[in-house]
């Protein structure tokens, strides 16, 4: 079965729709949404509505730090993030807020673990951006496969024979065998706000039967998404990021 892994949508409706279409056409049967559905982007309400609908149909959904920030004032966010969160809070319906608030931080299913940041202490939102932090997260998860977001760059970490962990930068569109006898941690990349210099939306597709993961980049109307951010009066930097993928 193919599971679509979608993280860090950040209120970008155009990017989410493009990824969902791509996943469906690629044979996705299940969907996992890995947190940070809101913040930065101009369409948080629409995005949450879509994800809530998928959740009703059995999608796996975990909470991200931006989703949490909607419900409580967060001390560590920077000025523009705070501004964007305040705007988002106003844009969301009580039902949407209740949906976000009710999300779990971490979900285990079969050999898989889904979490927005590190499984070691999900509520602390630690970044998994080195082989060592990947190892911590995977060991805490205790699963063969750990799927997460938070870091916006597509990454694959894996356990070597001596217990050491290694990093691999996936090549979009190339299926990578990830055999179940060793542990893997995959970061799906950001649907709505890629930061690696390419504006295409990022997500990943895991084929449980073939034990293969394919990281995808999907072109979408990022200029329209950027225009909506500007029109909403959100910080210019957020629009610029979506335009350029930086």
């Amino acid at each position: 079965m193919e599971i679509a892994l979608l993280a860090d949508v950040h209120g970008n409706l155009e990017a989410l729709e493009a990824c969902l279409r791509h996943a469906r056409e690629s044979g996705a049967k299940r969907y996992a949404f890995l947190g940070d559905f809101v913040g930065y982007g101009a369409d948080p309400a629409e995005v949450v509505t879509i994800i809530a609908r998928f959740a009703v149909d059995g999608a796996l959904v975990v909470k991200g730090n931006h989703d949490e920030a909607v419900e409580r004032r967060s001390g560590y966010m920077n000025e523009s993030s705070r501004h964007s969160i305040a705007w988002t809070r106003a844009a969301l319906s009580p039902e949407a807020k209740a949906f976000l608030e009710g999300l779990p931080l971490i979900v285990h299913e079969d050999a898989m673990c889904f979490v927005h940041a590190s499984a070691r202490n999900p509520a602390r939102w630690d970044y998994v951006d080195t082989p060592a932090t990947a190892r911590h997260s995977a060991e805490a998860a205790g699963s063969t496969y750990t799927f997460s977001g938070h870091v916006h760059d597509q990454s694959l970490y894996f356990e070597s024979a001596g217990g050491r962990w290694s990093f691999f930068r996936p090549i979009p569109g190339s299926p990578v065998p990830i055999r179940a006898h060793r542990r893997w941690l995959a970061i799906a990349g950001s649907v709505g706000q890629p930061r690696d210099g390419r504006p295409e939306a990022a997500y990943a597709l895991f084929d449980t039967r073939k034990e293969e993961i394919t990281f995808h980049r999907v072109a979408y109307d990022n200029l329209a998404a950027a225009r909506k951010i500007r029109d909403a009066g959100l910080p210019e930097a957020h629009a610029y990021r979506v335009e350029k993928g930086i």
Partner: protein
């Protein structure tokens, strides 16, 4: 699962026949039922208690990469077993003979080297085009098919550029086969297709001469020689090797990947079009590179090793150490001055070099009796003064030079022990000659030191006067 499967057993629908190969890493069985498209074998890795973990990683590597490759130059894959449950690989049995069996009786005629060599280069190019690097090219892994094309087998050390490199952390064994491995692999680098071009060069060299370009080193120091040392030109071994073939072989074997052919397709082209081969100095080389340029390469290679050395060594050395063995028993020997000139030229490469001058004197010559201790000390001092005289013309500052007189009956082991204890990087000593003074110890020492040293050795051959 250390137990091998039993012939006749049915595994996931494949009935296995006889075991046709029992290797250190895997068993190979004929498949008698279950694969219709081609004659097939089942490869079952040996792993479990008592078997090295590498077997499984190597198997996993092959099981990941082979299915991603296609074309006539690799075996087709029918199925892979679940690595966590029952690991196996069902793949095409490539009909043909291995290059290893063709080379058992020595080298091949030049036209055969060119024809077959081009076929091997085609196969290498085919996998390179699919983003894979073999990293273990050697005659055992080259199958010459009845139609005279070539298939490559055993992808246990391979790397696919679009897959994570499972072997990246396994530096201990991931290097490859000692005689054929490229300088980059010796340094633990697994990302350059041109490493395969180097191994192809070693294969072509062997096909042309029946000899291994760099021997079969068994130590890391021996392996590292290829970072800077160029091989004896093939024409020195086999007169039938024409300049164009030597040009191709030596170009594949350049220590720096940038100096090699940049594509296996170019190697194939040149082998098929000898008249098109642009000849350089390589084509007419009749001996190894002049010692000064070899020394420069050695120095460059040594710097390349530094990052690795720092990773692995408990204490990184600040500067390389050269040891010169001087025969102070025979200061009148006419070859003392040429040896010194060689040392001077080596030292001129970098001010970071440090020189240790050593002389081994026979402790047994010391007179016995009550004055023995005093006598020994006098003799020791005398040779120390002779060493100082020898080194004086080099005009080295004190911090770059040290003098050591070693008393021993066995010069070879004394030198080697001393070199190892002092982390010497290069030993320089004179080659023996037939007319040499019969008592000169270096007569017997040079070959022993060369064979057994754990570092590089520079044997200076001085023309007869």
């Amino acid at each position: 699962m250390p137990e091998p499967p039993v012939p006749g057993a049915i595994i996931d629908g494949f009935r296995i026949g006889d075991c046709i190969h029992t290797g250190a890493q895997a068993w190979i069985y004929r498949i008698v039922e279950g694969v219709a498209e081609f004659s097939a074998v089942m490869k079952v890795p040996r792993f479990g208690p008592g078997e090295p973990a590498e077997n499984l990683i190597s198997f996993e590597t092959e099981a990941s990469i082979l299915p991603a490759l296609s074309g006539a130059h690799v075996p087709r894959v029918a199925a892979t077993g679940d690595l966590a449950q029952l690991p196996y690989l069902v793949l095409e049995w490539v009909e043909g003979v291995t290059l290893e069996s063709l080379l058992r009786r020595g080298g091949l005629p030049p036209e055969e080297v060119a024809r077959l060599g081009a076929a091997i280069a085609d196969a290498v190019h085919a996998i390179h085009q699919q983003d894979a690097i073999h990293f273990d090219l050697k005659p055992d892994n080259v199958v010459v098919k009845p139609d005279a094309t070539v298939a490559l087998i055993d992808f246990g050390l391979a790397h696919h550029m679009r897959f994570p490199d499972l072997l990246a952390e396994e530096k201990r064994f991931a290097a490859g086969s000692a005689p054929y491995v490229s300088p980059e692999q010796v340094l633990g680098r697994r990302s350059d297709k041109r490493s395969d071009i180097f191994s192809l060069g070693v294969i072509l060299y062997e096909m042309a001469t029946g000899k291994l370009a760099f021997g079969s080193p068994r130590t890391l120091a021996g392996l590292r020689d290829r970072l800077w040392l160029d091989p004896i030109p093939p024409r020195e071994h086999a007169r039938g090797v024409l300049p164009w073939l030597q040009e191709i072989v030596l170009r594949c074997l350049e220590p720096r990947a940038d100096d090699r052919y940049q594509s296996a397709a170019h190697v194939a082209f040149d082998l098929r079009n000898p008249e098109q081969v642009g000849l350089t100095a390589r084509a007419s080389k009749s001996g190894r590179t002049a010692f000064l340029s070899q020394t420069r390469r050695w120095w460059r290679a040594r710097r390349e090793q530094l990052p690795l050395a720092i990773e692995t060594a408990t204490q990184a050395r600040a500067a390389p150490v050269i040891l010169v063995a001087v025969d102070t028993m025979h200061p009148e020997d006419p070859r003392q001055a040429p040896l010194r000139r060689v040392v001077l030229q080596i030292l001129s490469v970098s001010a970071d070099f440090r020189l240790i001058c050593t002389s081994v004197i026979r402790a047994g010559r010391v007179t016995a009796g009550e004055d023995a201790a005093a006598g020994a000390s006098d003799l020791h001092l005398e040779h120390r003064i002779r060493l100082r005289h020898w080194a004086e013309p080099l005009q080295l500052p004190r911090h770059r030079l040290s003098l050591h007189v070693i008393e021993s009956l066995r010069a070879e082991s004394a030198l080697l022990d001393f070199a190892e204890r002092n982390s010497v990087d290069l030993i320089v000593l004179g080659a023996p000659s037939p007319t040499q003074h019969a008592l000169a110890w270096w007569r017997s020492v040079a070959s022993g030191v060369t064979a057994n040293a754990r570092c590089s050795v520079f044997v200076v051959r001085i023309p007869e006067l």
